[in-house]
Amino acid sequence: MNNGPEKRCWNVLWMLPDILCLHGGRGDAMALARQAETFGACIDMRRVSRLSEHIDFLWADLLLFGPGELAALPAVRDALWKEQGALDEYLAAGKGVFCTGTTGALFAKETHRADGSVWEGLGALDMVCRERDMPYGDDLVFRAPGLDRAVCGVQIQMVDTELAEGQAPLGDVLYGRGNGAGSGGAAAAEGAVRTGLVWTNALGPVLAKNPWFTLWLMKRLLPGGEALPETDDDDVSVQWGLETESARAIWLFNEKKGKPHASET
């Protein structure tokens, strides 16, 4: 973080946005920049555009991974592997990574494709992904620990994800499928988190639709972010009127549908 005389500024590497480019995910990059400005801070965002490009982990405060195609993820993994452990060091230092959608499989131990093949992920999250025979799309609402408001989005699930025992989910599903098939209560788990690494199935774009979640992330993932205001700050709540109304309208819509469980989907 560059602490200038007036404005805090964080460095964000937007990872391969032309490759991990699905589902309006660029809206999360827009939201990070906009929300930071709302709090009197700023985001210096740079792209890592190509697989062969050097990734400046030392410069970055946060790596942003948007949703991408399952088919592209092995190539993205190789691009990260070529940095010879730099990502491991980055994660070990507790620096921030935010990842959405199917790209979560990149950080899994392994992913089983529908054709029977298996590819090894980066292993930063202790979980296994299995490609679904058919995509599944629905609304997704979950609650993360320490966040007093629900996070509202949609999910396009290409893989089901099983978290290993001890692997913390990001939150609990209030409506939707979350990580999907699994035994017992696994259906209620949404996403995964390991120190500075946060992955969610939620699309939307989730950071644009849920500025309270964006703030929650910034406070936890960015150095010095804890100094940002609390979510119940009155002035901030006023600015979130549109997003609050959106969450309310969609909650009403979801209530009419009922709550799906993994066994039903």
């Binding site: 490759i19 660029r26 995509p135 609304d139 644009a208 997003e243 309208a249």
Partner: protein, 466 residues
């Protein structure tokens, strides 16, 4: 020459029973329920004979053309059939968009004799991407056209690669594939076919320059379908359609495709291919690729340029141009788009932005309820560029019971000042129309679902006079 396998197929009583039931259903539907006539007869027939598609005789698969892809299937199929018919060829085609197995079966049984022999010389079928491999297994057409493979219907299709794999599975070395030279996924399928014919549009026509990328720090392109690295576009005719190259693996559009539209003159409404001039019935950029595809297939199969020109001069697209209705002193222009399909939404936005007048923009994206569960997806709006529309509007009215706030939020991210946006958390047609009527601009553009447009049109008179 008729396909030998088909000629040798033994026509069993089950096939004939299914055929006659289907024919009876088609005749009944023509009289009683025309809207059911493009699908229901085939559905019934397939229930009686699930392998029915393999039973039709007299099909020359060298003269069978399948048209698949994300956008432009129906227009291209209609245009191609119109060209062949104008040139005096007899054609069996599914022109009403029924592109699954039942729709294909319906088209065939309607044009078959009582013994199951196809009466027509040519078979021109729009085929759904997900059904393509199964339909081609039963009807091994030798010509396959792929308009484009883009983001679409994510609840069903997931991501473009999911559909790409399904289309790829239908391509064999004995297939001639017609690919879009400027759409990377379509173009890349030529690797798997015996013969490839490339159609395209020369630059620069209706070109959205890549300058947008420089101005918009959040602009994104797409991964290379061959090596998955980021593609470079030299410009765009449409979203992610334009001259492209992959710096990593070298995959690229050709400098010139086999059939290239050139010299587009929007005022004179003409274009040329190989120096021959053709009329251009519709001038929106996406139509150029329909013209290019249909001309490529026709010219490759012996249709004369003069016949193509005659057909283009009389072609009427199934979706029409704009559909409009009057609202007080205003004209409301409805621009079609498909939910969860950013390319069609972007095309609609481009049409609106091209009107230099100050305008009112009514937008009701609504929840997606094609399949269960219905859901509130609007993220495809973030794949589109709203900035051009945002610059020329008096007011943007977001309506709908669930996602109106999300649409307004997208507009805020596009830089539209909040005071120019009105939100109506309702589907009430009168309320929406009164809000539009209260604005001073005479030009009103509407983007919403077709069924909502029809309700709004029906209420237009009531809203104004109350």
């Amino acid at each position: 020459m008729a396909n030998a396998r088909q000629e040798k197929t033994k026509i069993g009583p089950r096939f004939l029973a299914a055929l006659w039931v289907g024919k009876a259903a088609a005749a009944f539907a023509r009289l009683v329920a025309p809207s059911k006539g493009s699908n229901l007869p085939g559905e019934l027939a397939l229930k009686l004979a699930p392998d029915m598609l393999t039973g039709f005789r007299g099909i020359d698969f060298e003269k069978a053309v399948f048209i698949t892809g994300t956008n432009g299937k129906s227009t291209s199929t209609n245009l191609l059939a119109h060209i062949f018919r104008t040139a005096g060829r007899s054609v069996c085609a599914n022109l009403e968009g029924a592109n699954l197995k039942a729709g294909v079966c319906t088209a065939l049984l309607k044009r078959a004799t009582a013994g199951g022999r196809l009466k027509d010389e040519w078979l021109i079928l729009e085929v759904d991407e997900r059904s393509l491999a199964a339909i081609r297994a039963a009807l091994p057409a030798k010509n396959l056209c792929v308009t484009n493979l883009q983001k679409d219907q994510v609840q069903r299709n997931g991501d473009p690669d999911y559909i790409y794999q399904k289309v790829k599975a239908a391509i064999a070395p004995d297939v001639t594939v017609y690919v879009n030279n400027e759409e990377p996924r379509s173009k890349s399928l030529e690797r798997f076919a015996g013969t490839a014919v490339r159609f395209g549009v020369a630059a620069p026509v209706f070109r959205r320059e890549d300058g947008a990328r420089a101005e918009d720090p959040f602009a994104v392109t797409m991964p290379c379908p061959v090596c998955h690295d980021a593609l470079d576009f030299g410009g765009y005719h449409l979203a992610n359609v334009g001259p492209f190259s992959c710096p990593s693996c070298g995959f690229a559009s050709e400098a010139a495709g086999d059939f290239v539209i050139e010299n587009v003159d929007a005022e004179a409404r003409t274009f040329t291919i190989d120096g021959a001039a053709y009329p251009m019935p519709y001038t929106a950029a996406h139509f150029l690729y329909n013209y290019a595809l249909a001309s490529a297939v026709a010219l490759s199969n012996g249709i004369a340029p003069a016949d193509i020109a005659r057909a283009l001069a009389t072609f009427e697209n199934i979706g029409g141009r704009f559909e409009t209705f009057a609202l007080a002193d205003k004209t409301v222009s409805y621009v079609r788009m498909k939910q969860e399909n950013p390319e069609t939404l972007q095309s609609a936005l481009d049409v609106i932005a091209a009107d230099p007048r100050e305008k009112v923009f009514l937008v009701g994206l609504d929840v997606v309820d094609d399949i269960v569960p219905a859901y509130s997806n609007t993220f495809y709006a973030y794949d589109c560029d709203f900035s051009a529309v945002a610059r020329g509007v008096e007011k943007i009215i977001c309506f709908g019971e669930t996602v109106c706030y999300d649409v307004a939020l997208r507009l805020r991210y596009a830089g539209v000042p909040d005071e120019r946006v009105e939100i109506y958390e309702t589907g009430d047609e009168d309320a929406i129309l009164r809000a539009a009527a209260a604005c001073k601009s005479q030009a009103v553009y509407l983007i919403t679902l077709l069924k909502k447009f029809e309700k709004l049109r029906a209420h237009a008179g009531v809203a104004v006079h109350e």
